[in-house]
């Protein structure tokens, strides 16, 4: 046996595959990882602290910047928390608009995941092809609310803008186009032997472990736990749509890939139904100009592209929250990383990290 020496390798915070400013201190023996220590916090902006000094209207643009790949869901969770305590009745049209934009945002987010994940394991083209389709969603959002990433679209009591003319038809066109492109993506990678070899059986964990670590979203479902808040704890108007929840078997990277691809398909289904049933009416409920949330506290949850996005709001009846805590799914999902990396190859590191699908803005809040 050759004497081998362990080496400390500092991956990040500036590294092409850490998806932001994430740092991972790994101890490697040759190319085998013996220990991995994640270090987060490089992007901590103190959103929760800032929120204590902001009115509810002002918090919304800040949430855009947490999970910047799906700002719509972040918008939703904070207005949803306030609305829950205020017990506001929302106009239907607003609810439908919210569902449409949230699902479109989910597709956009999964497309980014698809692209960057394939980039992580070394394929270039899927990244740009996925961004090509994502661009269409961003253009739709741009038409709807005047921004491509930081939407600031939802307000307590509804949404800021009604749909512009012809927007729904554009959404319909996008749906049919996206279905085609999904097929293309799967042709491009799903049957690819190199891809299969790099994803099958890598980063496996059991359903019990997933639950124990508090994983959520695709990370939980890929391990075989059939749990989707849209279906099991319906919020907004999700109970009116038909959709399936894709579930994996052993939580390996390939299951995560198929789950996310299938989720895009299901999201398209939801958007299609929502567009078809789109009701008439106002998009804002009657809410006071200065929003004061009645005293009390509430924990609300929703299914963001990355998992269970929650918001724990403590209000003391003021126009500013007393305490606002976000349950950020990336933060929870990332905890399992050291356990998954132990004994893995360095090349699998980026694949496993990519498979968790973190957004550092969200991890660090």
């Amino acid at each position: 046996m050759l004497r081998t020496e362990e080496m400390l390798l500092n991956v990040g915070p500036q590294h092409p595959s850490t998806h932001g400013v994430f740092r991972l201190v790994i101890t490697i023996d040759g190319e085998t990882i013996t220990e991995a220590k994640p270090v987060v916090g490089y992007l901590h902006r103190g959103t929760e602290k800032l929120a204590e000094d902001l009115t509810y209207t002002q918090i919304v643009p800040y949430t855009d910047r947490m999970d910047y790949l799906s700002a719509m869901t972040n918008n939703y969770i904070v207005v949803h928390a306030a609305e829950t305590l205020m017990e506001v009745e929302l106009p239907e049209r607003a609810e439908f608009l919210r569902v449409i934009v949230m699902e479109l945002n989910r597709i956009a987010s999964h497309l980014v995941w698809f692209g960057t994940y394939l980039l992580d394991i070394g394929a270039m083209s899927p990244f740009l092809l996925a961004f090509r389709e994502r661009e269409q969603i961003l253009d739709l959002f741009n038409d709807l609310c005047g921004a491509r990433l930081t939407y600031n679209y939802m307000r307590i009591g509804g949404v800021k803008w009604d749909v512009p003319e012809g927007w729904l038809d554009q959404v319909r066109a996008f749906i049919s186009n996206m279905r085609e492109k999904l097929k293309e993506y799967e042709d491009l990678v799903a049957g690819n032997e190199i891809f299969l070899n790099r994803t099958r059986g890598i980063g496996v964990y059991s359903a019990d472990e997933a639950i124990d670590y508090g994983l959520s979203g695709v990370n939980l479902r890929a391990a075989g736990v059939d749990w989707d808040l849209r279906r099991d704890r319906p919020y907004s108007v999700y109970d009116r749509f038909e959709f399936d929840v894709p579930v994996g078997k052993n939580g390996d990277l390939y299951d995560k890939f198929t789950c996310r691809m299938e989720e895009i398909r299901q999201s398209l289904r939801i958007v299609e139904q929502a567009v078809d049933q789109f009701p008439e009416g106002p998009v804002m409920a009657k809410v006071p100009r200065v929003i004061r949330v009645p005293e009390g506290e509430a924990y609300v949850q929703m299914e963001s592209p990355r998992g269970e996005l929650g918001c724990y709001l403590v209000s003391r009846g003021k126009d500013k929250p007393y305490r606002l805590k976000f349950r950020r799914p990336s933060f929870y999902n990332l905890q399992i990383l050291p356990r998954l990396l132990k004994g893995e190859n360095v090349a699998n590191l980026v694949a496993i990290l990519g498979g968790i699908d973190i957004v550092l803005g969200e991890v660090d809040a």
């Binding site: 590294h15 980039l119 070394g122 394929a123 891809f195 070899n197 090349a347």
Partner: protein
């Protein structure tokens, strides 16, 4: 004669540099097209001078040697990597008359000299005193050693059929039938192994961007980095030319279309190979390092050995034996 001795290589150097410039542009353009983009288009018409601008930028950049690096070795490594890349071009026959050194063991020379580049890469990675560079260099060494063997083994079939190690002789032997048909297994093994030798996707592990940042040349910048890049693309040139010579019949025309000059035929086939390399790079993800070893030792090597055995066997069968 004396003038030719000096002028020839200089011309060749410029031809190769011209190819590298064009190849990089072509690669970026093709990959751009495959990704619904248009590729570089800002410098010169159609972006023609993009690579020139890039090279100029690299040459003008500050020459940085990390403080903790082994300075001598660090400076020497790009040279060690580049010189063999250029040296192998000497034996490549582009047409029956256009060849610089028509030596008897041309194929052996090519294989032997090209292995030296690994030392340059290893030295560069080691001398950088950077962990990513070290891992990249180690991967490179392991990969080169593992794939050199199936590469050479795959060629044994060709050598047996041609009966010579002289590259011009091998092309001559393909007048009737290109070796890609009888030596198909050999071709496949050779092509995959050559991809690995070239460090190109899906075998670009030594510089795996998403894992090792830039692998062995992570600490290099300026013209030293340019040398590594140059070596890589000169190898693309040399390897594509070698594949053309060995399996695609060199300058021999297809279907007896002799109205095109031999050099054009050579360039056509050569371009096809280069395009395929780029195409593969645009499509495939990177293979993992342990799977790379498995593929090399457990799949390609047995296949190559089987190919030798098969060629020897088929050579004895009357009728088709003449092709082997």
């Amino acid at each position: 004669m004396q003038a030719w001795m000096w002028l020839g290589p200089v011309i060749m150097l410029f031809v190769v540099l011209g190819f590298v410039t064009l190849a990089i542009l072509f690669e970026r353009k093709v990959i751009g097209w495959m990704q619904s983009r248009i590729g570089p288009n800002r410098v010169g018409p159609w972006g023609l001078f993009q690579t020139v601008a890039d090279v100029l930028k690299l040459l003008l950049k500050e020459d940085i040697v990390p403080q903790k690096a082994d300075e001598t070795l660090f400076k020497l490594a790009p040279v060690i990597a580049f010189v063999p890349a250029f040296a192998v071009v000497a034996v490549l026959p582009f047409t029956d008359s256009l060849v610089f050194a028509d030596i008897g063991v041309g194929l052996l020379y090519f294989i032997a000299i090209s292995s030296i580049t690994t030392i340059g890469i290893l030295a560069g990675g080691w001398a950088s005193n950077n962990k990513y560079a070290l891992i990249g260099a180690m991967r490179s060494a392991a990969q080169m050693i593992s794939y050199e063997i199936p590469l050479v083994m795959a060629l044994v079939g060709v050598i047996m059929a041609a009966g010579t190690l002289n590259l011009s002789g091998i092309v001559e032997a393909q007048k009737e039938m290109w070796f890609i048909v009888p030596q198909f297994i050999g071709f496949v093994v050779f092509f995959i192994a050559s991809l690995a030798e070239l460090n190109r996707t899906p075998f670009d592990l030594p510089e795996a961007e998403s894992e090792l940042v830039a692998g062995y040349h992570v600490e290099y910048s300026g013209f030293r980095f340019a040398f590594f890049m140059l070596a890589e693309y000169v190898y693309v040139f040399a390897m594509s030319a070698l594949t053309t010579v060995l399996f695609l019949g060199g300058w021999n025309p297809l279907f007896g279309f002799t109205f095109l000059p031999p050099l054009i035929w050579f360039l056509l086939k050569f371009s096809l190979i280069v395009f395929t390399l780029i195409w593969i790079r645009a499509t495939l993800p990177r293979i993992r390092v342990d799977q790379l070893m498995q593929l090399g030792w457990k799949v390609l090597l047995p296949l190559a050995l089987f190919n030798i055995f098969l060629s020897a066997l088929l050579k004895e069968i009357p009728g088709i034996g003449s092709y082997y």
